[in-house]
Symmetry: D2
Subunit: 360 residues, 4 copies
């Protein structure tokens, strides 16, 4: 089950295909070259196990019509037995985190590996996880599984992901900030007495599909607003993955008046003056084997348009004249590298395929 031998194909299933990340995941799976003969099963997030109605995939997402298999597929009620009957090997959970917390151990019990796009299994520290108000039927088992879960950042944990039974797919803000800082922190270049300021901006799809006052077009359009200042839920992921303390990180998310895309502007001070080439080389070395990260050469800075509807994370820099202050700009599509394409990247690793298959 945890082998990394190359598989010719794979049987997959997606629970929760109604949302934005779910729709992108469906599109990527339908178009994945290894899955052309074995389309994924789609399972309704809202349908209680054992009952409910079936709906055509293209009724839910008319934009998918015409894609391979799309017009023949349905979203069916969730049913573990059917998953097993169909020989599903990997289950994507694009459900609310409460659901994912409950279903992941059940999937493993049915010998199905899990890629969880929710936040349910990302955090090792109870204090960080508290914000999600998760409850566990069997706390001891959950704790053990939590320790086993691998944070699904292929650039940081590739080999562990390849062997994992449960991959916790990272948050969108977290991915952009972690990838923008990890090489510098690993190389010990940042003066942490000054801390890190991460000013991040995200398109509206990050707020989910449920209509609310803040996702109303009239609220979001022609606007910009900061929110969850000092309290965003992704903070814990960033701290844990980068080994930072809460005091060292200032992270402010903003809601951009665009559908998709995240741009994080990250401010740090260096331990000692560096050149732009030093910084770039640090990143080039770190991501040399990472096809989904594009390190940009100054003066080219990432911008949201370059990454939207792609599976890349773009990273660029600008250095102060004295070589001591560094601004890092990190960009990605929150629904792709910030969610669904990163999940596919993890699936590729778990199947022993090349990391970027179906993503470029």
């Amino acid at each position: 089950m945890t082998t990394t031998t190359t598989n010719p194909t794979l049987r997959t299933a997606v629970a929760g295909v109604t949302g934005y990340a779910g729709a992108e995941l469906a599109r990527l799976l339908l178009l994945h070259p290894r899955l052309r003969e074995t389309p994924p099963m789609f399972l309704g997030r809202m349908l209680p196990e054992g009952e409910g109605t079936t709906i055509a995939l293209t009724s839910l997402h008319p934009q998918l019509s015409g894609l391979p298999h799309a017009d023949d597929l349905s979203v069916t009620p969730f049913d573990w037995e059917q998953l097993q009957r169909e020989g599903v090997e990997i289950l994507f959970l694009a459900t609310p985190h409460e659901q994912a917390r409950e279903w992941a151990p059940q999937a493993l019990a049915h010998n199905i590996r899990v890629i969880d796009l929710s936040a349910a299994w990302r955090l090792q520290h109870d204090a960080n996880r508290a914000i999600y108000k998760l409850t566990d039927a069997d706390p001891a088992a959950a704790q053990a599984l939590q320790r086993e879960a691998v944070y699904g950042s292929p650039e940081l944990h590739g080999p562990a992901i390849a062997a994992a039974r449960l991959v916790a797919n990272p948050g969108c803000y977290a991915t952009s900030i972690i990838l923008g800082l990890a090489p510098l922190l690993r190389a010990n270049l940042i003066d942490l007495t000054f801390g890190v300021v991460a000013d991040a901006k995200s398109g509206v799809s990050g707020a989910g599909k449920t209509p609310t006052a803040n996702t109303h077009f009239m609220y979001a359009a022609d606007n910009l607003s900061a929110y969850a200042v000092f309290g965003h839920r992704h903070t814990g992921e960033i701290l844990e993955q980068l080994h930072l303390t809460n005091a060292q990180l200032q992270f402010t998310p903003h809601l951009l008046p665009i559908p998709r895309g995240i741009l994080s502007t990250i401010y740090v001070r260096l331990n000692q003056a560096a050149s732009l080439v030093d910084i770039q080389n640090c990143f080039f070395d770190f991501y040399v084997a990472s096809p989904m990260v594009r390190v940009r050469r100054s003066p080219l800075l990432p911008q949201i348009q370059h990454v939207v509807r792609t599976s890349f994370c773009d990273i660029g820099f600008q250095l102060s004249p004295d070589g001591k202050k560094l601004v890092i700009v990190s960009c990605l599509d929150n629904l792709l590298k910030g969610a669904s394409s990163q999940a596919i990247q993890n699936m590729n690793l778990m199947a022993g395929w090349h990391e970027s298959e179906g993503l470029i």
Copy 2:
């Protein structure tokens, strides 16, 4: 009560200030030069008569803070006795149409004139009004009041509005199409055997403040969609005001990915070949005394940017080389000339003031 003698000022009240049109109405009233000493009363749409809580106006609409009186005003529960005690002379109803259908006769019974921004009283023909599913406690009285109600298009019914007790403020699409066609139809220039095609496009605020799937930023942004083809509720108003039959009008509304503004592109054939100057003069003559309509000289065509956040309706034209086919472009801000500023224009007429006071 129905006198048109000039009043130095006026005591007004607004029921239903939570929505977009309500907020614009509040802004226009607070800034109206005749009302600087007598700010309007604001009454909650949702609060049942006789109970409920009071909320600061600027809690509801922080953008109004700093305007005259705004920070001192509250939205209070609706109460007829308090309206009378305060000497309210004109009540704006920015409520759902069911509410307006019920409240308008009650207001008149309390000697308060009404400007109703809903569709409750716009339509004389039962068949046209059926789409709103209105019910009347006293059908005979309602029918009599319906006949008395004046359609609040100042450019068409100015004197009647000045004397009216109940003004039915027009719909936004209807205003743009009626003002674009009335001069030509009155002058009998249009060949109605070919009918009229009105292809109209509106910003999202026209869909109201309640968050729905179709007002979600992710649905509306970067999109365009036709809706209510052959079945939009404003059709009846257009037919009644322009004396057209249903067979003669084809009206298709579209949802534009912008907050505000309507542009209607109207296609007609002329009874006989005309010059652009003929057409323009027909419009200039018709609107010579109408300060809120700007007739544009070809080749300048109206565009949404010219009218957004203004109280004007802009109208322009283009004629086919043979002088027989005419395209009329009519533009306005759906929340202003399509709703709130037209209501103020009606208030001005009812108070004996200049039509454009507080609007330019």
Copy 3:
């Protein structure tokens, strides 16, 4: 040269890769499964033959970085001899129409087939072509070539395209309107005494990459404007392909405040009352073998979001209650089905491949 035998791969070149359609064409060619081993050559539009500098493809279009071959490719000066040396079989012209008028015969003289994305060769009637102010060094030869040129609408002229030496890739507005009307006109269902009204709306990319007053963000954003009323250049294509007279068509384009996408709302009267099923069947039959057209079942209407960043044209309908008036909604991405993906579709046909390869 004009064989339709299946080729394993193909050597292609693109002249004019700087614009928006050029960039999309580059992306589609780089990702085309048949061209993975034979990436296209890219030739600068602006560089005079025989001189000029070379620039990295990803300097011009940083968003293409990471795609197969992209980081190794350059845009080189245009040179017929090099094209021959490299064995180029199909040349895409994404140049201004004057250039394409001049280069197409030269390409054929070098035994290179041409897919021209400009308007240079689309129009058979001199009167329709006059608007482009084209001049020919050898008018007789140009006229002969004009007669040979095939209008590149795969749904209308598939077999002719497969055998063609010169394919004139259709205009974006024209594609949406032609595909929305062709089935009904072929079936003789439309009462042409009433004519056809096509109210079309396009995103800003249709206006090209050169910065102008009308492509400035401040002009286009939050705006809608009609333009070229009674005089748009695509009119001739629509008339020729649909065999309509100028008197029968009223076509008004509008500039939408979005990057990409066209939605055309088309108004016709039917010769006799029909049912929605009749209409849908007419379209389903016509497009039964056309993978890039998605005919929608009422009440689902096409919308721009469903087609943007796809190679599909979506078509849907609404019928008046009396079955006599029909509204057709036709939607596509102006840079894809309205330009570059249609060019790829034509290339697929010319190479004997499946029409949709590399497009779904």
Copy 4:
């Protein structure tokens, strides 16, 4: 000339009305209650002195049609003698900074006070001014005038502005950052060893009306990009007005995909732990007599929609749980409080009128 006695009205002129700030200035002046009888003169920026043609104001800005005097006014060639003949008392310069550097002393020589919306006279230190590459015909006189020029921030320099002959109207980014920091710095609450990070985001109108690659709709829409990192021209203003060193400030501007509005997110550490009430009181006290600054009470944070098309600057805060780290959010409309309405505010002070006349 420099008296602050209340004037019943004022004769004004605007040089450079073609741009976005110029159009807003024109609108504000036409609607200013004190200027209803004395409309401003409009002078073309591009027309050489003594020659040139005259153009109707509403040809340049059709959206102004219908406003008081607007349809009767022209933009005429610049001519000092005419300015004097007409008795102009205050001249607004909405011209490029080179022009404003040259014209300001000439205006004073003609006994005309100046409000300069360009950057020509904002900076006292040559090093900060160097970025604008200004040259002076008479360097000594220019230096003297530079020392006399008053930085036109009414909240900081009200009395000096009232008496000034030359007011240097602040930059848009600078205004938002200065107003967000001044109260805290004056009260010595900020620990400057950590410096200040100002992450600012502006709508596209800030980039000016000239069409460029970066103001093209296709570049700006659905995008976000950082620019001028460590090198924006407004840095000098911020440093001078706040008495900061270059090492203490990190300011990164971003281009937002919206027409108007600036939001600055400012990160500081406090000298000692404070409560939100302490911080708010610091701001309330500082701005108690400033009608154009709205200090928001937590948890309400400013957002761009609240200030767009208003003359307000909104400021709000969020404090870390330990009371040591503070995020300040400062918002304004870059064309109004960031340019034209601030100029009107300065005019009001110079005329002895209430600061907010014509702005609320």
